[in-house]
Symmetry: C2
Subunit: 401 residues, 2 copies
């Protein structure tokens, strides 16, 4: 019997849960409302080919793309992040403080490398992104859930839990949150930045959905209100450029933090693949983003509208939904004691249903499971399939009441 | 004053040393014999453009490249690894046990995720790859050095240190080792696999240079002699395809190990960037590797020959060199008490020298530094520059005796 490190035991539970999420996805008749991936129509395949054909030349950026490169990431991509993605949102920083990572999860890993010791407490939204909890458990941290309402994390409960648990970090997904689709309101964003300073606690602001807002008013990141340097902003190109490129970024608060991030990244994997970085930088520098952004927002808005209309129509009366202004999914709380974990197998396998979703139970950090919720994704599902899937699943749920 | 995690303190020392390595590289007149990167002429820029232009299509592999993908890596790349890179070397495995990583260092990080707890001892060659030590220190492991001779790690000293320190792992670079260029002989490869079984200790076999052998006889990997499953084989595409693509791979010994690797990779960064994986897979599947491999071996053989000839000619009498049959560098032990750490600044800045190298001291794990050695790279340096640099540096060294 081989012995593994303590962290492997610590994460064994969550890893098993995560694997359960996508178990039954081989059936071609199955419609998945479970996957949080972008729409295939939202992937800029032709633009990326055009750019790669231009840059992959010995007298272009071909040698740069295939040779070792800078640990912090390709400079012009970091400048794009600063100028096109952060400055318009009120986040003032420089390319020296921005590091490119191999996707959003790696930003979480690297933040933990810098700050988390085994046994530390991390406060998270209840519910929260299950893969982030898996990463926290790899660092042998303990997640404690903070209550949410329609406006995101409840600040009174947060402060109470800070006083009780003395957490090292607060992990928050402020915009179109995973899994609930909820958005932290402006007042709480300001308050969270104050709390970070008052209690000297880190806030990891993970904001991968913020740039796919297609209705309502844009809200500034928590980081834009940060005066203490305790707010670490993470984001990802997965939803606005390409998920498979695995490109994310971290914003450090000062030179020392940036230097430690660089050391941790260097020890982890030297640097992120360069060709995807260059393709992404050129995509923004060539001005392709605004039209692409409009196209994907139009696409997701239509899908959101169809989904919300169908859910109202087909799901049981008394179901409560999030009405998200952006992102890729909504969240449903079912009435009448329906248990989404128990119903999943039937939903996936029954010949007249064949619809998958993600049972909400998986997203709750504490031992007190809430079993009547589900995450319902519309981002990667064409409108006709949204209609068919919600009708089939809704009919089954109504039968159970 | 912000507090960082213990691991950040643990790695602070090594990180500072590593940064020192490439400090003074802005000067265009400087010839660097310090960088272990591949030659720019060895990067298949035109082939990669051709492939990317073919595959980046909606009816090709464009959506696959830009959408989320499998944690273990793209299947056909894993099959290429099994069939074209491992089977010919006597390593029998299947694609299920091979995981693609974001470069060679990430294979080391992931192996540590699986097996290393804070305080564990890792035995390493003395000297060894400085970035690997940095990674080990991030996991709060302690490195203990094992003696080497011209045939690699000395087995008697290894066994003595196993009995004394009860290490969790032995880290070894068996072929054209970094930094010494030495190769572990056949007999010791067999013995090391036996020791892994006898003492139930893990062996991390890191073999990124093995595929650029351009003279002498090929030797089977340690993994090919493994009967206990305690040998974990890591390799990289950095030297044979592209360093900037950040592609490496790990070979797990069994299903459980593969499953844990997958969980750790999933929590770390979901998966490695897909476009580089697809480009690399196609490069091998289209049969481009044999001709490319011959081209780069011819290139490096010539540079090695020029380097060894010039070192004999220009360096002080009594200097001892490794004569490597492959790889990108050699190792010199200087006579007469010359201190390569102290001489580096003068070598880099003196107008009639302007040559950099890597001072050997950095590569020694223990507190007992050996100061008369240097790593001298020829891989990325054209022959005329090798001649000029060795002449200039050799003249300076001779002056000092």
């Amino acid at each position: 019997m081989r012995t593994y490190a303590h962290r492997i035991d610590a994460m064994a539970g969550t890893a098993a849960v995560v694997k359960g999420l996508f178990g039954a996805l081989g059936d071609p008749e199955l419609i998945s409302l479970g996957i949080g991936a972008p729409a295939r129509e939202a992937l800029p395949v032709d633009l990326v080919r055009e750019i790669s054909n231009d840059v992959l030349r010995v007298d272009g950026r071909g040698v740069e793309a295939l040779q070792y490169g800078p640990t912090m990431g390709v400079l012009d991509l970091r400048q794009v992040i600063v100028e096109q993605l952060l400055a318009p949102k009120g986040v003032k920083t420089t390319a020296d403080h921005v590091m490119v990572t191999t996707g959003g999860l790696e930003t979480i890993s690297l933040t933990c490398e810098l700050f988390i010791n085994p046994g530390d407490i991390i406060l998270v939204e209840k519910p929260t992104f299950v893969h982030a909890m898996e990463t926290f458990e790899m660092f042998e941290a303990h997640c404690v859930g903070v209550e949410m309402d329609d406006n995101g994390m409840v600040m009174e409960d947060l402060e109470e839990k800070i006083r009780k648990h003395h957490p090292r970090m607060i992990y928050v997904i402020p915009t179109f949150q995973n899994p609930t689709g909820r958005t932290l309101c402006l007042e709480r964003r300001k308050r969270l930045a104050e709390i970070a300073a008052e209690y000297d606690v880190l806030v990891l602001e993970d904001d991968p959905y913020r740039d796919i807002r297609y209705s309502g008013e844009d809200l500034p990141p928590i980081k834009s209100f940060d005066t203490s340097g305790n707010v670490i902003l993470c984001n990802s190109f997965s939803k606005i450029f390409s998920a498979g490129s695995r490109l994310g970024y971290l914003v450090a608060s000062d030179d020392t933090m940036a230097e430690h991030m660089k050391d941790a990244k260097s020890a982890l994997n030297s640097h992120t693949s360069l060709l995807p970085q260059i393709l992404c930088a050129e995509f923004f520098k060539r001005g392709y983003y605004p039209a692409h952004h409009k196209m994907i927002c139009d696409l997701y808005r239509e899908r959101r509208d169809v989904m919300m209309e169908c859910l109202e129509k087909y799901f049981p009366k008394g179901t409560k939904f999030t009405h998200p202004d952006g992102g890729l999914f909504t969240w449903a709380a079912l009435p009448g004691g329906l248990n989404t974990t128990q119903l999943l197998h039937e939903a996936v396998t029954r010949p007249d249903v064949k619809v998958s979703y993600v049972a909400g139970e998986k997203f709750f950090p504490d031992g007190a499971p809430i079993t009547n919720c589900m995450r319902i994704s519309f981002g990667a599902v064409p409108p006709d399939k949204i209609r068919a899937a919600t009708q089939r699943l809704g009919r089954m749920l109504c039968e159970k009441l």
